[in-house]
């Protein structure tokens, strides 16, 4: 508004949602994430003219490489992983802004080349001392890197840190990491990335709930029987055995993605879409979740089986996995949220590897019609309504309801009403990393995880795994290509329910 008051010609001209001038420093630049996600996202932002007018990338890693070699590698990465075909003139603009620094950043004097490169960008590109540090580094490198950045932080302009998960491996380590980060940086400067929150469909959950008057009055224990959240992967560990052996499904998926989905489903309406308002409401949900007892948690590990028609090995046969590993590749749980809205309404959640297909869904199952006045063939033909949110793939929403089959009798069948993103909005959905990197450049932390959120997530996870070390599970207990262990089905059957049919 101030800009328009000073310049009346700006009235009505939409201000493009570009980032603020800055230099982006990527630590761990020779790694997989940089190639698969970060550079394709930066290219897409460049293509859509969303990068700041004054911008530069400083890619930092130990691997010796020249600027040209790094640029060529990233160009190939964009061609392979980008969502749009590479256009030479756009790539050339991004490439000229990209510099590679081969150094051991945390070693004595190792930071000098990075500092010099940033100073050069400030002078030649006008990045004004503004810094976005992207830490795509392993946990063990986090502490010295953060300390070094703290020592070198710019005295002019802003400094923002984007931190990749894992945010610790339990409550204690998460607390220590937060303490480390806040030693030199304010919480408002820390952007913990959970790429699930950058997905359009996850954000659409908030629009669905709070932008439509019809859902909120029925979004509670009075009308909803239970909620099912599935984060399923058909892939195995895919070369990540070293990481996965230490994390398992509960730390890899439940602690972050899955609990985020629970929080977004269950949260109260925020007063606005401000970062603090949204995150305050999510934290309240996490605090209200009570610890599930051992009977409410199922863990599993996949054995050999068939996925997509191909025979696949069991987890213990995967390269890098101990032959007697007890790492869980599946977790199912019944969670409760102790507040007025959700008391006694179970949230059944499950995640696993080598499930029959890749899908992330949130299914809101409503209570059955209390007294159907029809003479129907069986109870099964009159099913409860289900609002299904497809997070990935096939992004969209569908509502299952009952309809009369045309004819003389009263035969009832469930039918779907579908809203498909791909069908209704024919523009490409932006990749989560595009949205999140841009948000960080703009200083908007709404879709990033706050310190207290992380710690609440870990408290719940710690309580869930507390009993696991006491007994030795009989693994593997589900075949690849199935929906997890039998015990996961029993978890719902005991309550007279079952997992959604697929």
């Amino acid at each position: 508004m101030t800009e328009v008051a000073e310049n009346p010609l700006l009235a009505g001209l939409s201000m493009r949602r570009t980032g603020e001038p800055c230099a982006m420093v990527i630590f761990g630049a020779s790694g997989d994430l940089t190639q698969r996600k970060l550079f394709p996202a930066l290219y897409s932002l460049a293509l859509n003219r969303l990068l700041p007018s004054a911008f530069g990338v400083v890619a930092v890693a130990r691997t010796p490489m020249t600027d040209e070699e790094f640029r060529e590698k990233m160009r190939n990465a964009v061609e392979e992983h980008g969502s749009a075909p590479l256009r030479e003139e756009i790539w050339a603009e991004l490439a000229v802004e990209t510099h590679y620094v081969s150094t051991e950043f945390t070693a004595e004097g190792g930071e000098a080349a990075v500092v010099e490169c940033l100073r050069h960008l400030d002078e030649t590109r006008g990045t004004e001392g503004n810094r976005v540090y992207y830490l795509a580094i392993p946990p063990k490198a986090m502490e010295p890197t953060v300390e070094q950045i703290g020592k070198q932080r710019s005295t002019s302009g802003f400094t923002r840190l984007i931190i990749e998960k894992p945010f610790g491996h339990d409550t204690q380590s998460a607390h220590e990491l937060n303490a480390l980060l806040t030693r030199d940086f304010d919480e408002s400067e820390i952007f913990r990335i959970d790429h699930y929150l950058g997905k359009e469909t996850v954000q659409n959950m908030l629009v669905l709930r709070f932008g439509n008057g019809i859902f909120e009055p029925i979004w509670n224990r009075n009308m909803i029987d239970h909620v099912q959240i599935t984060v399923g992967e058909s892939l195995g560990v895919e070369g990540r055995a070293d990481f996965y052996e230490h994390s398992g499904a509960i730390r890899d998926i439940v602690q972050n993605h899955l609990l985020q989905l629970v929080a977004l489903t269950a949260m109260e309406p925020p007063i606005d879409f401000d970062a603090e308002s949204v995150r305050n409401e999510k934290v309240k949900v996490l605090r209200a979740m009570h610890t599930p007892g051992p009977k409410h948690i199922v863990r599993g590990q996949y054995g050999p089986g068939f996925v997509d028609g191909h025979e696949v090995p069991g987890y213990r046969e995967e390269e890098g996995v101990a032959p007697d590993s007890t790492t869980e590749t599946f977790v199912g749980a019944k969670l409760y949220i102790d507040n007025w809205r959700w008391a006694d309404t179970p949230f059944y959640v499950r995640t696993g590897k080598r499930l029959p297909r890749r899908e992330t869904t949130i299914a809101i199952q409503f209570k059955r019609a209390p007294h159907p006045p029809f003479e129907i063939d069986s109870e099964d033909s009159l099913r409860p309504n289900v609002l299904l949110l497809h997070i990935q793939p096939d992004e969209g929403v569908s509502l299952t309801m009952s309809a009369k089959v045309p004819g003389q009798g009263m035969t009832i069948r469930p039918v779907h009403m579908d809203f498909s993103y791909g069908g209704h909005f024919r523009s490409n959905l932006p990749e989560a990393y595009e949205r999140l990197i841009l948000d960080c450049m703009r200083g908007d932390a709404t879709l990033f995880t706050r310190a207290d959120e992380v710690e609440e997530q870990w408290k719940l996870v710690d309580s869930m795994v507390a009993g696991w070390s006491r007994d030795r599970p009989v693994f593997p207990n589900y075949a690849s290509g199935t929906w997890g262990p039998v015990a996961a089905d029993a978890l719902l059957h005991r309550d007279g329910r079952s997992w959604r049919r697929h």
Binding site: L9, G12, S420, G423, H424, R426
Partner: protein
């Protein structure tokens, strides 16, 4: 083509096409986010069909194209009904839009709204793209304005640009108006805004470009500065030069936009644009 068609015939054909659209093993999603109507006099038909061809897969809608033929010698509707399907998410799935072309023969050409009303998709916005000059007060325009939420014009298509702008504000209280010429000059408006405050005292705007774009820019500048800015205009097929107070406005480099791109952008807009309305109303 269905000759002497009724609206019921059109609806039946839509239903038939919808039921038979899917190949075995394929699922078809018929989606609509709006009703998009186009009034297309014969001289605009080729251009309008070209835009439509490029629009369908981006903006699923029910499109109703009216082709007026008042001299036909008979009063009737002829119609073509088509389902245009586009693959998405793999070959086994497609999304379809409905395209209805209606030839309004004889006196039927003065009452398109009576055809449009029963074919509107309920509860979704209705847009009307009017090709060529606006016949202010004519029954075909008046009728359609009564059933749409937004009128989309391109003042560059008007024979008398000044007269068109002078009459257009009379519609603003009834319907939201989008002007594709307004979208075309946006980069130039942005560039002029970038010259602020050096141009705050200018009294002349020099434009080399189409008459409509130039007039619109001058009226906009007058409205924003709240005083008259005269126009020094030199005709060209597209805007190539804008100068205010001896300073040249340089727009940001961007990919050229096709007519479909420009229309697509207008179909995304919701509600009135007060800055456009002030500009047009500034004589």
């Amino acid at each position: 083509m269905i000759e002497d068609a009724s609206v019921r015939d059109i609806e039946r054909e839509l239903a038939r096409l919808g039921a038979t659209a899917a190949e075995p093993g394929q699922s078809v999603l018929r989606t609509r986010v709006m009703t998009h109507m186009a009034w297309v006099p014969p001289s605009w038909e080729t251009a309008a069909r070209g835009v439509l061809d490029n629009l369908g897969d981006r903006h699923p809608s029910r499109t109703i194209m009216f082709l007026p033929d008042p001299e036909a010698g008979r009063d009737a509707l002829d119609a073509e009904v088509d389902l245009r399907c586009f693959a998405y998410g793999g070959p086994e799935r497609s999304v379809c839009s409905e395209v209805i072309v209606v030839w309004l023969r004889g006196r039927c050409s003065s009452a398109p709204a009576s055809v449009a009303q029963p074919l509107l998709v309920s509860d979704l916005p209705a847009f009307l793209r009017w090709r060529g000059s606006l016949p202010f007060g004519a029954p075909e325009l008046e009728g359609l304005l009564g059933v749409v939420d937004r009128l989309v014009v391109d003042s560059g298509e008007w024979e008398d640009v000044e007269a068109g702008y002078d009459a257009l504000p009379g519609l603003f209280s009834r319907v939201a108006v989008s002007d594709i010429a307004w979208a075309r000059v946006e980069p130039w408006r942005r560039a002029l805004a970038g010259l602020w405050p050096a141009i705050k005292d200018v009294d002349t705007l020099r434009v080399q470009g189409p008459r409509a774009d130039a007039t619109l820019l001058a009226r906009w500048l007058s409205a924003r500065l709240d005083r008259h800015v005269s126009l020094d205009h030199e005709e060209a097929d597209e805007t190539v030069l804008v100068e205010a107070g001896g300073r040249q406005a340089i727009p940001e480099r961007a990919d050229p936009k096709s007519p479909s791109d420009l229309l697509f952008a207008q179909l995304e807009i919701d509600g009135h644009d007060p800055i456009y309305e002030e500009a047009v109303g500034r004589a």
